[in-house]
């Protein structure tokens, strides 16, 4: 089970006073906090196995907050981001939220707003974690299938529009009866009750990406 101790808040801000004061207040509240003066220094030390969220200043020299967000997306790092800004620039906030940011906080912000955002980020982190775990579990189950079963499972997920045995059989050059047989085995091994559930889970955990 995911616990608060496993959750780290990474503060990235070029202003030292901000880093100090934020670290102080959040630590007092029992959060695990790490702070960085630039995006680059964060990226250098970041370990993607440790879950947490970013408390990211938008306006920084060199790489700014938005650029870091893009970079993380590029690097396929899913970490919840809470933006902070002294400018309150509306266009940037829209862009950030679109790219998946949790919130865009205008400095100075009310503590309860910050805490609520952190809560959201925490829940998101949990969900990220769970997703990863269930995906890993699904993958493990998939590995237990025979080659023919894997083939049929993949065909079902890739062609959800027509999953009749007749069609699958024709496409894979086997008899519909054989398809029926293999499909029953697939559902059993993958621990799902229906073809629909199989498709949903496979897509969610990116089984065949």
């Amino acid at each position: 089970m995911f616990r608060m101790e496993d959750f780290t808040i990474y503060i990235i801000d070029d202003e030292e006073d901000i880093r100090t004061s934020l670290t102080r207040s959040l630590t007092k509240r029992g959060y695990k906090v790490e702070s960085f003066s630039s995006a680059d220094s964060f990226l250098e030390t970041y370990n993607r196995t440790i879950s947490g969220c970013l408390l990211l200043d938008y306006g920084m020299p060199e790489m700014n907050g938005l650029e870091l967000q893009n970079k993380l997306i590029e690097m396929e790092i899913s970490i919840p981001i809470i933006f902070m800004t002294g400018h309150g620039g509306i266009p940037q906030s829209v862009q950030a939220i679109k790219a998946g940011a949790i919130d865009f906080l205008e400095k100075p912000f009310q503590q309860k707003v910050l805490l609520k955002a952190i809560d959201t980020a925490f829940e998101q982190a949990i969900s990220f974690n769970e997703d990863i775990e269930s995906a890993n579990a699904l993958k493990a189950k998939f590995e237990t299938l025979t080659a023919r079963e894997k083939e049929i499972a993949e065909f079902i997920v890739q062609n959800p529009a027509d999953t009749s045995s007749k069609n699958i059989g024709r496409q894979l050059d086997v008899s519909p009866r054989t398809v029926d047989h293999h499909r029953a085995r697939v559902l059993e091994k993958m621990d799902v009750t229906s073809v629909a559930e199989l498709i949903e889970k496979a897509i969610k955990s990116d089984l065949f990406s």
């Binding site: 901000i18 207040s25 020299p61 002294g86 309150g88 400095k107 100075p108 009310q110």
Partner: protein, 770 residues
């Protein structure tokens, strides 16, 4: 129409000839006609008077016979009571006077003796009517010329009474010789007339009347025998307007309703010319009282002369009337006249031809001169084509003209060449109404008209509607002999507005009268447009600068202040949490910390409000030519750079259009270039130049502002707000530039000094052609 000298000479020569000949002919005709007409009138008059005399001569014996009988009776030589004596007397008169057809005597007792010529039984016949106490006897006696009775008879039915006859009554009433009105004898159907005279006793007692009947057929015969011209007519008219004699005796009789013969009235005669000539005389008695009446009249296109000789002036019982056609007298010369006119025309033609020949001869040297003048005028000045036949006056004029024209040609050629070869527009303009007397091709091209079209135009046709009154100042300036020099709007043929610099002055003739204005005209539209664009840009930039600098400052301040406020609130939060862990925390301290938190947020609110007040001008984005924008922006900076003796060069490449906010980009160019100027000026280096380059990249255009200044201290964060390497700088310029370029989707950066030059660069996205 102007006629040549030759034509004038020919027309005048032949025309005058014709008129001269014609006037001689006409004068001859008119004067001879007058003479002949006078002669005709005289002739008619004389014929008339002759006829009158003849009439008198014809009647005279009858009158004499009457008077003789009267005398014999009144002197009692013949007893008027004796029918035998009376008969004898009357018989004798009949024998003597052949004109008489009858003679008679009637007394107041009603006795009547009548001797007449007879065709039956004997030459003469006598009628005797005797009244005696109411008893009437009528005896008829025929006698031969020797007074022998050949037959005797009585007629009891004949109760003739002389006292009731008109001749008797009239003579008795007047007691003098009378003529009765002419009448037609019943028996012979010949016209006749009766003369009567009263017989009185010694005691002047009226006793009876002697009457004679005269046949006047003879008068008609006489009149018809008259030779009046070739077809003149003479007539005798009674005072009752009866025609009693006419050459055609059939014309004078008519039968009335009672079947009695009577004379035709003059206004009803079948001789229509006679009717026209005399029918209109209303009262013949009055007319007859006048002198002779001569007249000329027209009938049926024919001209006639007429005369009326009243008989009363000559003791005649009728008037003589004559008319004759004038053609009888002047027909000959009228025929002559037509022939003469033809002759005149022929002579005029001959002389006209001769005149033409002479005119041609006179005119030849003049025509040669005209041809030569033409040659000279077209620049062919040579003496070789001088005519052999000429006049010294013409020769002199020719020489002068040739040299004048040669001089003018030279001048014209130089002026014309200048006019058409100059690269500027040129025009000759009428100073009075402004129309173009002459323009060169350059001006026509500038205005978009052909030369031909320009010839019909005036300056009003091309003036901008708002500048129409500027022509007045044009006129005024010129007439005061100042040079006109104005830059104004004009309209091209296609309606485009163009700016023309017009430079004009007035040319006067040798009398000082204005001839035309010479104008040189330059098209200033392109410059004017560029200036306008630069001015617009300048205006936009200063507006932009005002709004955005405030916004930028507010923005910057907000950012800078929000940072410490954030730290404060976070620290307060940490302090509160710390305080809560203490068992004996001072509640007042908690309150103080809460207040601080609230006040820090309050400060942030104020800043937010301030920022809201100064909204950033977002501006509109569009496609534009960055080279053009660079050029315009640099124009605005040139004065500043020139003053500091810094040269600015633009090295533009052919690049695509960019997309962004033009004014914002201009502001960035302005900021960077001005920074460069200030850097070069502050450094005091000898090489004082700035170069701006454009460089196309894949999806961007790079703009480099390169200067020879000292470069930037690497410790300064150039693009941060409120940081400046300049002593009096606010640190907003570069920060604003960065904000603006980023807002336009570009980047801005600084490249440190290499080869003595440092450069600021920025990019602008290339416009995507959709």
């Amino acid at each position: 129409m102007k006629l040549s000298l030759g034509a004038i000479l020919a027309i005048w020569l032949s025309g005058l000839q014709f008129i001269a000949v014609l006037s001689v002919v006409s004068f001859y005709f008119v004067s001879s006609e007058r003479v002949l007409l006078d002669h005709a009138t005289t002739l008619i008059g004389e014929v008339g008077r002759g006829s009158t005399e003849h009439s008198k001569g014809f009647l005279e014996p009858a009158i004499r016979a009457t008077k003789l009988a009267k005398r014999l009776i009144e002197s009692d030589i013949v007893d008027n009571n004796s029918a035998e004596q009376l008969e004898k007397l009357l018989f004798q008169q009949m024998q003597v006077v052949p004109q008489l057809s009858g003679i008679y005597y009637g007394d107041d007792q009603g006795n009547f003796v009548y001797v007449m010529r007879s065709e039956k039984h004997a030459d003469f016949r006598t009628k005797l009517v005797k009244r005696n106490n109411g008893f009437i006897s009528t005896e008829l006696i025929w006698r031969d010329e020797n007074y022998n009775v050949t037959r005797r008879t009585t007629d009891p039915t004949d109760k003739f009474d002389p006292r009731v006859r008109p001749w008797y009554i009239d003579a008795k009433d007047k007691r003098s010789f009378i003529w009765t009105a002419p009448y037609i004898f019943f028996s012979s159907q010949s016209p006749g007339i009766t003369a009567a005279t009263p017989i009185t006793s010694a005691s002047n007692q009226f006793e009876g009347v002697i009457g004679v009947d005269i046949e006047i057929e003879e008068i008609s015969r006489f009149l018809s025998g008259l030779d009046i011209g070739s077809s003149g007519v003479a007539m005798a008219l009674s005072s009752d307007r009866d025609v009693i004699a006419h050459p055609n005796s059939n014309f004078i009789r008519e039968t009335d309703q009672a079947n009695t013969l009577k004379f035709v009235k003059i206004d009803q005669i079948e001789d229509l010319v006679a009717r026209e000539a005399f029918g209109n005389l209303p009262n013949f008695d009055q007319v007859a009282a006048e002198q002779e009446i001569e007249a000329e009249f027209k009938y049926n296109d024919g001209k006639y002369a007429s005369i009326l000789i009243p008989g009363s002036n000559h003791d005649l019982p009728w008037s003589i009337a004559i008319y004759a056609p004038l053609s009888d007298f002047i027909g000959g010369i009228e025929k002559n006249r037509t022939r003469n006119i033809w002759i005149a025309m022929f002579i005029a033609m001959i002389t006209g031809l001769i005149g033409l020949k002479i005119a041609n001869k006179i005119n030849q040297p003049i025509r040669d001169f005209a041809i030569r003048a033409g040659h000279v005028a077209s620049g062919n000045v040579s003496k070789s084509n001088a005519s052999s036949q000429t006049y010294p006056e013409l020769e002199e004029v020719s020489e002068t003209l040739a040299s004048e024209i040669a001089q003018r040609k030279t001048f014209e050629r130089i002026y014309g060449l200048t006019f058409s070869l100059t690269s500027r527009g040129m025009a000759q303009i009428s100073p009075n109404d402004g129309h173009f007397i002459r323009v060169n091709q350059q001006l026509a091209d500038t205005l978009g008209y052909t030369l031909k079209e320009m010839a019909d135009l005036s300056i009003f046709d091309i003036l901008h509607p708002e500048d129409v009154d500027s022509y007045l100042s044009f006129q005024k300036t010129l007439f005061e002999d100042y040079e006109y020099n104005q830059e104004k709007r004009y309209i091209r043929k296609n309606g485009e507005i163009i700016w023309l610099q017009v430079n004009a002055f007035l040319i006067r003739d040798n009398k000082g009268e204005p001839m035309y204005a010479v104008a040189t005209i330059d098209d200033r539209t392109a410059q004017k447009k560029a200036e306008t664009k630069i001015n617009e840009l300048s205006r936009d930039l200063s507006h932009f600068a005002r709004v955005n600098m405030m916004g930028q400052m507010a923005e910057g301040l907000a950012h800078e202040l929000n940072q410490p406020l954030t730290s404060i609130t976070q620290n307060v939060d940490a302090a509160l949490l710390t305080l809560k862990d203490l068992p004996d925390a001072d509640p007042e301290l908690i309150e103080i910390l809460n207040d601080m938190d609230r006040q820090a947020h309050h400060g942030a609110e104020i800043i937010r409000a301030l920022r809201g007040l100064v909204r950033k001008d977002e501006g509109e984005k569009s496609q534009f030519d960055i080279n053009e924008l660079l050029d315009q922006t640099l124009q605005l900076l040139k004065p500043e750079a020139n003053e500091l003796e810094i040269s600015i060069a633009l090295k533009a490449q052919d690049i695509p259009l960019v997309f962004g906010n033009r004014v914002q980009v201009a502001q960035v160019i302005m900021n960077l270039t001005r920074n460069a100027i200030e850097a070069v000026e502050a450094s005091g280096v000898s090489e004082r130049d700035i170069t701006i380059k454009t460089k196309p990249q894949k999806k961007f255009i790079e703009i480099h502002v390169i200067d020879t200044g000292p470069g930037i201290d690497p410790d300064v964060d150039l693009f941060a707000q409120f940081e400046s390497s300049k002593r009096d700088g606010m640190g907003l310029g570069l920060s604003l530039s960065r904000t603006l370029i980023e807002a336009n989707g570009g980047k801005v950066w600084y490249e440190p000094k290499t080869k003595g030059r440092s450069r600021f660069c920025f990019t602008i996205p290339v416009a995507v052609i959709s």
